[in-house]
């Protein structure tokens, strides 16, 4: 067998968006290699989840109580048994917080080639090629791996999840759990929700960030409405608004506030003082709207609009309402 495997990332028993992103990646790779694409499902009750992975040609599943929650020790022992019994050509694992380290544990234990931090993965003949992004995006690499199975760790947000959201009955191959699961030393105890009185802007996918251009406290409502049109979004701001008491300190982006890296940072009426830039410059996509075409924020933005945000925000909201909110 020389399939392309994609490990399903699960949170509280549901496949995460990252799972579907990787299935999309895996499909392209499987086509190049002319092999089937299979989802690997580690959980306590595989039968319930398998149909949601219908984009794959099949599911390789292992069910055991220790696999219910992501547990690096249990999951690596389970994966190793699957790799030993049914070795694939490539195993793709998404770098979610819950799975970070798993590719290394598996590759390290069996001496397998591993390419980590990848945005994409392709096949060049027999070689698997990954393109890790290093040093906070300052350097890109091209890494080749021979032999196999090759383990590839893929960053979130690199592929589209949408095409892979296919619900259907798929063939499931069950693999017996290894005895090593009984002697594991790490035990999942509980989930703990953070005691939070406010949203954590460092974990938002989209930030609608407002500055002095918002002009008055009641206008913040317009930004809140805009934020409501995205998924996992919140309103954040530059320091002057927080100092004026218009927003709580928890929403402040910048050197003396939070450092954020959302997928979309919409800087509205923010001129871009260096202290602010420091807290948001690593955002994936930065869109800046400001009346001043010379505002420094435009040097760091990917897209810029010269406009009064009070005119622009309602127009943007109007356009957004025509679409449904999607965020990985």
């Amino acid at each position: 067998m020389a399939d392309v495997y994609v490990l399903a990332d699960l949170e509280r028993g549901r496949p995460t968006d990252l799972t579907f992103e990787l299935l999309t990646a895996g499909r392209a790779l499987a086509s190049d290699l002319h092999v089937p694409l299979k989802a690997v499902l580690l959980t306590n009750e595989a039968g319930l989840i398998a149909p949601s992975l219908g984009f794959a040609d099949g599911v390789v599943a292992m069910s055991h109580s220790s696999l219910e929650h992501r547990n690096l020790e249990a999951w690596s022992r389970a994966l190793l048994k699957i790799l030993d019994e049914k070795p694939p050509k490539v195993l793709l694992i998404g770098i979610s917080n819950g799975l970070l380290g798993l590719p290394s544990l598996v590759a390290g234990a069996r001496g397998l080639p591993l390419i980590s931090l990848c945005r994409s993965v392709t096949a060049h003949g027999e070689e698997i090629v990954g393109d890790p992004v290093l040093f906070g995006g300052k350097i890109e690499a091209e890494v080749h791996a021979k032999g196999g199975p090759v383990v590839v760790a893929v960053r979130p947000g690199s592929y589209s999840a949408e095409p892979a959201r296919v619900q259907r009955t798929v063939p499931v191959e069950n693999v017996e759990p290894p005895e090593a699961l009984e002697t594991r030393r790490v035990h999942f105890k509980r989930y703990a929700d953070l005691e939070q009185t406010d949203v954590d802007i460092t974990h938002c996918d989209v930030l609608i960030s407002i500055g002095r251009g918002i002009q008055s406290q009641e206008n913040i409502r317009i930004a809140e409405e805009l934020s409501g049109l995205f998924r996992n979004a919140a309103v954040s701001s530059s320091r002057p608004l927080v100092d004026q008491g218009w927003l709580p300190r928890t929403r402040q982006v910048g050197r003396s506030g939070m450092t954020v890296k959302p997928r979309l940072y919409l800087a509205l009426g923010i001129s871009g003082a260096p202290e602010h830039i420091e807290g948001m410059k690593s955002s994936e996509t930065i869109v800046a709207v400001n009346t001043d075409p010379k505002a420094p924020v435009f040097e760091y933005a990917h897209y810029g609009v010269v406009a009064d945000i009070l005119t622009f925000m309602p127009r943007l909201a109007e356009q957004l309402r025509k679409r449904k909110p999607v965020v990985a």
Partner: protein
Amino acid sequence: MDVVVLMKMVPDAAQKIEVDAASGQLKASTLNLIPFESDEHALEEALLIKERTGATVTVVTTDLPGGDVALWTALAKGATHALLVTRGRPYEPRSTGELARIYAKLLETIPHDLVLTGAQAPDDVEGELGALLAAQLGLPYISVAVAVRPDEGTHSAEVTTELGGGLRSVYESALPLVVGIQTSETPPRYAPFLQIRAAQRSKRTRSVAVEPVPFDPKVEVVALHKPVAGKGATMLEGSPEEVAGRLVEILAEKELVGG
């Protein structure tokens, strides 16, 4: 309780990182190496454990430029021992696998109940140090930790990890255990310069030579390059309606909004 902190020197992303066009490798002469930020958090977590339990904290790094300063700083902050592993090789981004083997060898000779290191470094082309090391040593591994609470009596530790979106999960593990630290419970402390110099003069940093570890890299870094990026924003022009429409199309292409 013996806590070992593994620190890795990485190029400072705040400074310029240059690629030599001819060789496709990093220009060593322009690199500024600093301790990896999450490793600093690992050290802080270790120092908090020391303050709570009286554990000894041993900090380890390799003899890359700046490694000695990192150890003096760790001593100034309160680490018990500092070990400089002599390797005599310049920095290269693909070295974590070899480093894991070197540290695995080293840990055979020093007591360790807890091994702490940063969860994910910016040069982890071939995986994370903590996980690769745990695989080498056959020890359990927990990653993205934000709190580590060892219990000497039961010889176990409770580890809280950060799943994102305000969700955390809590694990319990037998010791010895390797933990990848995301952030420490309190921000890394500042070491005043005089204390760093005092640590330097105290000669408490010990050099250890580890036998060369045979290592056969399974992957090949073919080329490094700077990302192609234009400076400055693409300005969207037109009436507010047109611009808003165009922007939403761009966001849709990036799957930030639906179709």
